[in-house]
Symmetry: C2
Subunit: 462 residues, 2 copies
């Protein structure tokens, strides 16, 4: 396997040079180029079937390598080849699309947008599959391996559920291996067992028809920026709870066992704060630990806010409009489609006279999801991770991921249980400047994947 | 006088083509060009002395036309040749720097940025002085007329007080005629007798060192946008009063006579709301009429607010920073230099753990000012306005202007009382898209100015 590591790193660097930012329409050609690059790399790896699947948005890449054995399970690897925007680009130590190796305390790091989220997580599977064949002396994998790598995850996967429904027959599988997550620390084997869902909303408040002179009108008419500040200030109560009407109605309370399992995860709050967060204090919902708040409790965050004059100097106006972008992280059994109505009701509750609101809630969203902790497939995953870390399955910790992907759609449409295997770390600065992947973690990921195909071959399936 | 009207309109159109936006450093050459244009126009009008005075910022224009008579007063006209920014430019019906005449219900209107604020108000003095000489058969004005037209009023006049102190001897005068205001309606003669002052502040709140993934950190660390919303929501109490500690301490209460004089001003609140405000409701401090709130009470307005992701789609981040620009309108005897400390104290009161604040309060600001209602100079102004409107001085209403200029500096440094003569209207959309001047109001302004120089010649002075 280590002979091929250099090839993995070179391949990943080439892929990372493609700025496949799905949120920005100007980068649509780059997202298409990224799909083509990946298709070519999968063909070079040996996949006999590789296809680019168009969608109403960005293309997905599909690949399939059937096992020659009869009666073995089919595993579908899910990931994405699009990346987050890179603003503020001036905070990057190296240009985000010029991958750069930096020596860090845990070994060499590769810095680039998408280094781990999610190109690194997809790339280790190419090496993992080769290692699996080499170690077992096989020409085909021990299980049938399918890959579906979409191009719109960082934009909320707006066409992914449709794609799954259209291609349901081709995608039929016994287990889904989600490769878009990570582990708790470089030397701590762990498995994600749940992910939060996502709903988003954009709010526009309108006051006067045009920007007004604050000397002539200030103190006389309502200011949309004041209304927006009051609205967003009312998003949380004094306990840090989200105030949308009905927001917590469907939240499944954490069981004592779940809280105990989460408490076993080593977590140094001060080190976490001093890491990529570089935050000076924790915040959030009262009554829950920080790990519970970021992994297992629903939240509301304002991601952007703007209005009025933002240029040099000052401009003495009452602006005509104010804007905000919000996202909500959801946990089982909240449903993203319920959040739109909750946001509208909440905005209505806080709207002063003379201000009109427009609430845009894109359809879709992401449902929260969770793995079955006691399934045979989970046992196979724990065994594979344990081998990659030279330890016992019982030493593999269970964690929850705060982020969101379209994993719930995979469960809904394909009816297969989810496993999570990823090589990321909480310190990888995903979505932030200076995103990186720890190269030794990529190796661990490839090793775990190589073991996983053999372990899964032994799992009984319908 | 009417023979020269076409010349006035052509001159004004030429001047308005120069985009002298002082707030934007990119337009500094245009502000300089605007000063040169004005200097040339003053020479053409006949001023024997015309000078461009550099400052640490944009240049001012100074002109002087001594009266040949002995023992007559010296009047100094104050105005400015810079203009407001034009964003959002897509809301202009005609390009802001291509002056366009539009027929309106009260006669022809000239649309352009600066049409009334303040190029129109300065330009009518050129015609007024010619009319004064023609009507009196004089070669020199009946009083010595000086003009000081600065280039940074829309940026808060940061270097104006220094300029006044440096040039105090040249600027010595018995009365200052401020030409940067207006009247209440096209057919209602009125005189401004007070202006609000101005103080401004820019606030930056910092949370995490970089934008963070809201899935990994949401619910765990403080979000600067939430902190900014809570801060700005706390800027006013439930009575609409500004919550800065000590903000009202120096405010002189309105006397019964002042409230009665203001109540005489015809004001149709519904028509006012339906005008340029196009606002659906009034807002502001409880216990005061709308005219009192916008003219005679101090206010706080958020003029701009921004932070996080504002591009297309969504970006699931907790942003590192949030920003806001605020201005405060002040009334006698508030002092702008006191507001900086009040803002800092207020921000400190509302800062959550983990958020750091940076408050930038530019030095300077604008003090509030007021005219002496019973002075002989005021009587001369009322007589001049009354003649321009073919009415009696007692029919001229007193108003207060909500806006701010550096008028208080003129009082402080030059020790001369203020008169206000301007041709603007509340419906002129100053600082907004589609700013205009009503051309018949420019004629009224020129007529009032022509009368004013003769009326002032009869005023006793030290």
């Amino acid at each position: 396997m280590h002979a091929h590591l250099d090839e993995l790193h070179a391949d990943l660097r080439a892929w990372l040079r493609i700025p496949s930012i799905s949120a920005d329409p100007a980068h649509a050609p780059d997202v298409a180029r990224s799909a083509e690059w990946l298709a070519d790399a999968l063909r070079r790896t040996g996949f006999p079937t590789v296809e680019i699947w168009p969608t109403a948005g960005a293309p997905a890449v599909y690949a399939e390598w059937p096992s020659a054995d009869d009666g073995v399970p089919v595993a579908l690897v899910y990931g994405h080849h699009d990346v987050q925007p890179v603003v503020p680009v001036e905070l990057w130590q190296h240009p985000p699309f010029e991958p750069t190796v930096v020596e860090g305390p845990h070994g060499p790091e590769l810095h680039a947008r998408g280094a781990i989220d999610d190109k690194g997580n997809v790339a280790f599977h190419l090496l993992g599959l080769r290692a699996h064949l080499a170690a077992t002396g096989r020409d085909t994998p021990a299980v049938t391996v399918k890959l579906l790598i979409e191009g719109e995850e960082e934009s909320g996967s707006p066409h992914f559920a449709d794609l799954l429904r259209e291609r349901r027959d081709r995608l039929a599988c016994d287990v889904v291996v989600v490769s878009d997550t990570g582990m708790v620390a470089p030397d701590v084997p762990s498995a994600v067992v749940g992910m939060r869902g996502l709903a988003d909303a954009e709010i526009t408040l309108r006051g006067p028809a045009v920007d007004l002179h604050s000397g002539s009108f200030g103190g006389g008419v309502p200011n949309p920026l004041h209304a927006m500040a009051a609205l967003l200030a009312a998003l949380h109560d004094e306990q840090g709870r989200v105030t949308l009407p009905g927001f917590y109605d469907a939240v499944r309370p954490l069981s004592e066992r779940e809280r105990e399992l989460m408490a076993r995860v080593p977590f140094d709050e001060q080190a976490w704060l001093a890491g990529p967060a570089a935050s000076r204090a924790t915040a959030g919902e009262a009554g829950f630990s920080t790990l519970e708040r970021v992994g297992a409790r629903p939240t509301a965050e304002v991601n952007g806010m703007w209005g009025g004059y933002t240029g040099p100097g000052h401009k003495t106006i009452i602006p005509a409009q104010a804007h905000a972008k919000l996202t909500f992280r959801l946990v089982a059994d909240q449903r993203p489609e319920d959040v739109a109505a909750q946001v509208r009701a909440w905005v209505e509750q806080h709207l002063p006279a003379g201000i009109e609101a427009e609430v845009h809630t894109p359809p879709g969203g992401v449902s929260p999801c969770a793995s079955d902790l006691d399934s045979p497939a989970m046992s196979a995953l724990l065994a594979a991770i344990a081998r990659a870390f030279d330890t016992e399955p019982a030493a593999v910790l269970f964690t929850r991921e705060g982020g969101s992907g379209p994993e719930a759609d995979l469960v809904d449409v394909l009816g297969a249980p989810l496993l999570f295997l990823g090589a990321g770390l909480p310190t990888d600065r995903i979505h932030s400047p200076n995103e990186r992947v720890l190269l030794p973690m990529l190796t661990r990921g490839a090793e775990a994947a190589a073991h996983l195909w053999r372990e899964l071959a032994a799992v009984p399936h319908p």
